[in-house]
Symmetry: C2
Subunit: 395 residues, 2 copies
C-alpha cells in the first residue's frame, strides 16, 4: 500500500492514473500533477467515473526543481511516475534524490536544444541513488520497457545466448483522417528525418533516414512497411544482453503518412524557422499543428491494433532457436476501458506495472536500473493481468 | 503605325510589351499600365535595355471603369491589350466602348465570386461594338487563341469537315523545386479540383475532376500524363467549327505536382476559409503562397519546353484524315529573349500578333470575335515570324 505521485497529464499519464486506480491494494493514494491543472482535473473526473476512486490533483512545472521539491515535500509519495516530457527527466531525478523518493520514467532524457536518445545523463545517478537508498527505474513503457523485459525473459527461459534481436513496433490503427499524428508532430517528423542506427559486431552502424525497410507480416494487423530507426532501448540492451551480435529497431510508417510528411517538408510547412507573414513571425510547423486534427481527438475514432514485439535468435542447449514475443493491443478496447487509445495505453500500463513491482518490493533495490536488469517473470505475469497479454511463437 | 495601351504588368503583359517593342513599324507608341506602377517601370527598363525603345507607364485600377475611361481619354490609344486579370474583362470592355477604342484579351470573363469559364457576358457586347464601329477580339493568347487559329487553319486547308478535336497542352518545364506554381496557386488548384467537361454529339458531358487521363508522347518533351479539363476555347469552337462531333481539352500535370496538391488539400493548406491562429485570422492558402517560391522567381531557373497543339480528325475529299498542329516553346530561350519563361511567352506573343492584325487592318472589323472567326493565314504566318513556329504532322 503506497501513495504515488504521477507527473504528466497527457495520454500516458491519464492511462497510468486509471490503471493505478484499478489496483487500490497497491496504490492506496494517487496524486496527479502537471503544469495544466485543468488537464489533471479532467483525468480525475474520468478516473472517478470509471473506477469510483478519488485521486488528488496538483500543479507543478516539472522543469523547475524547486517546485518539484516543494511538491514532493508536501505530498510525501513513496515514488514518482514521471510521465511528462523527456526534457524533464533530470530535474525530476534530482528532486527525487533530494527528497529520497523512488523514481520511474518511460523515455530517456533528451535536451530540448539537441534532442537525441542517450542514457549518459541518467546512468550517473546510480551512485547517489544507491547512497540515498532509493531506486530509479528507467524506461518502463512499452518500447523501451516491455521490449527490454521480453529480452530478459527470452534470455532467462529460451536461450543460453541471444545473438540477434529485432524489435518491431507496428501501429495498425486507422483514425480515418488522411493525415494526423498521435503525438507531437515535431517528434513524429524528427523520427522519420533522423539517421537510422543499429548495433552489429560490437559497433554502431549508421544508415540514411528510412534507408532500411522490412515488409513484415504483423500478427493481428497484416503486412506493413517497417523502417529501421535508432531507439533508446538499444543503448542499454547492448550492455546488458550478453553474447549479442546484432540488435535493430523497426517502426512502421504508412506510405500515405510518409507522402504527407515529404510534401509538407518540401513546401516548408514542417520548418520551425519563423517566416514573416502579414507583418509578423509565424512558425510554419506551429501553423500546421493548428490545422491538423488535435491528437487528443484521435482516441475515440481510431480502429485497429498495435503490435509490438521482439524477434530473437540464438542458441539453447547447443541448438539454434528463433522466437517471437509480441503483444497486440486494440485501440477501441483501450478507449472503452480508460478513454485513451493503444499508443498511450501500451506505455501507461507498463509504467503502472513497474511502479507496482517497486512499491510492493518485488523489484525494489537502490540504484538506477534499466528494465532488462530485473527479474522479468513478475513483470510478464502482470502484463497478462493488466491488459497487455503476450504471445510467444517459435519460428 | 499605332499607339497601343497594354493593361497588366504580370508575365504576359511584360512579354507583350517586349514583343510590341520589337515591331516599331506597327506599334509606334506603347503605354503600359497597371495598378502597380513600379512593376510597369521594371518592364519599361527591361524593354529599353533589350530593344532600345522607350515605353510609357501609367497607373490604373482595371476594376474601376471611371479610372479606365480617364486613362483612355488621356492616352488616346488605337486599342487596348487587356493582359491583367479575367475579373476585369467587363470593366475594360465597357471603358473601350465608351471611348471608342478597340479591345483585345487573352482569357474570358470570370467573376471573382464564382469563377468559371463562360463567354455569355462578353458576346453580348457584339451589337454595341458594331454600332460604335469598334472591334473586340476575345482570347488572343495560346489556349485560347492559337489553338482556335489552328482549328480555323485546319478547317481552311486540311479538311472539308473536322469531326474530332483534341487540344493538348503540356508544360515540360522543370524549375528544380519540389513544388511551385507558375501562376496564381488558387487558379492552379481550381484547375485540378474542378469537374471536367467536354462536348460530344451536340451536348456537354461532365467528368469527375481528373477522371480522364491520356498518356501522350509530346514532341520535344516525351510522354506526359494529360488530364481532361474544361477550357474556355471549347465554348466558342463548338459554335464556330461546323460538323464537329467531339472536342476535348487536355492539360498535363505531373504525379509530383498532383501529390503535392492532394496533400496540401488534405491538411487544409489550400483552403481559403480563415482559421484562428495565435489570436488572429489566417487564410491557409495565403500562408502557403508566402511559403512557396515566388512565381516570378521561376523564370530564370526553368528548363525544358512547352508543347501545345491540336489533334484533329475529319474528312478531306471523301477520305479520312488526321493531323496534329503544334508548337514547341523553350523556357530558357524565352527567358533569354524577353526575361519571362514559356508559359508567359506563349500567351504574350499571340496577344501582340492579334493586336498587330487589328491595327494594320488585316483582321479589323467592327464587332466581337473569337479567333477562329477570322482568317487564320496571316496569324499563322506571324507565329512563325515572332517566336512561335508551328509544325503540321499527318497522323
Amino acid at each position: 500500500m503506497a501513495k504515488v505521485l504521477i507527473i504528466g497529464a497527457g495520454g500516458v499519464g491519464s492511462v497510468a492514473a486509471h490503471k493505478c486506480a484499478q489496483v487500490p491494494e497497491v496504490f492506496s493514494e494517487i496524486v496527479l500533477a502537471s503544469r495544466s491543472v485543468d488537464k489533471c482535473e479532467a483525468i480525475r473526473d474520468s478516473v472517478k467515473q470509471r473506477t469510483g476512486r478519488e485521486i488528488e490533483v496538483a500543479q507543478v512545472d516539472a522543469g523547475q526543481k524547486s517546485e518539484l521539491v516543494a511538491l514532493l515535500q508536501k505530498v510525501k509519495p513513496a515514488m514518482v511516475l514521471h510521465l511528462a516530457l523527456p526534457y524533464q527527466d533530470l530535474t525530476i531525478m534530482e528532486a527525487c534524490l533530494e527528497c529520497g523518493v523512488d523514481y520511474l520514467d518511460t523515455a530517456n532524457y533528451e535536451s530540448e536544444d539537441n534532442p537525441c536518445f542517450d542514457y549518459s545523463r541518467q546512468w550517473p545517478f546510480d551512485e547517489s541513488y544507491r547512497n540515498k537508498g532509493i531506486m530509479g527505474l528507467l524506461g518502463s513503457g512499452f518500447d523501451p520497457g516491455v521490449t527490454n523485459v521480453f529480452c530478459a525473459y527470452a534470455a532467462k527461459h529460451y536461450f543460453d545466448e541471444i545473438h540477434y534481436i529485432d524489435i518491431l513496433d507496428a501501429n495498425g490503427g486507422d483514425h480515418g483522417y488522411p493525415f494526423a499524428t498521435n503525438f507531437n508532430p515535431e517528434i513524429n517528423i524528427r523520427e522519420v528525418t533522423a539517421r537510422g542506427r543499429y548495433w552489429e559486431n560490437g559497433q554502431w552502424v549508421e544508415t540514411e533516414p528510412m534507408e532500411k525497410k522490412w515488409v513484415f507480416d504483423f500478427p493481428g494487423i497484416g503486412p506493413k512497411d517497417a523502417y529501421l530507426l535508432y531507439h533508446e532501448e538499444l543503448e542499454s540492451l547492448v550492455k546488458n544482453i550478453k553474447g549479442l551480435k546484432r540488435i535493430r529497431f523497426w517502426m512502421t510508417f504508412s506510405e500515405q503518412y510518409l507522402k504527407h510528411l515529404e510534401v509538407l517538408g518540401n513546401v516548408g510547412m514542417t520548418s520551425i524557422e519563423p517566416v514573416m507573414f502579414e507583418g509578423r513571425e509565424i512558425v510554419p510547423l506551429q501553423f500546421l499543428k493548428a490545422l491538423l486534427p488535435d491528437p487528443a481527438s484521435l482516441g475515440p475514432r481510431t480502429k485497429g491494433k498495435t503490435c509490438i514485439g521482439n524477434i530473437m535468435e540464438g542458441v539453447k542447449d547447443g541448438k539454434p532457436r528463433k522466437i517471437y514475443i509480441y503483444n497486440n493491443c486494440d485501440h477501441e478496447e483501450c478507449y472503452r476501458e480508460v478513454g485513451s487509445q493503444a499508443v498511450s495505453y501500451t506505455t501507461g500500463v507498463p509504467a503502472m506495472i513497474g511502479a507496482m513491482l517497486m512499491v510492493n518490493g518485488v523489484w525494489r533495490k537502490p540504484g538506477i536500473y534499466n528494465m532488462e536488469q530485473l527479474d522479468p517473470d513478475p513483470f510478464m505475469e502482470q502484463l497478462n493481468q493488466h491488459g497487455l497479454p503476450w504471445q510467444v511463437k517459435e519460428l
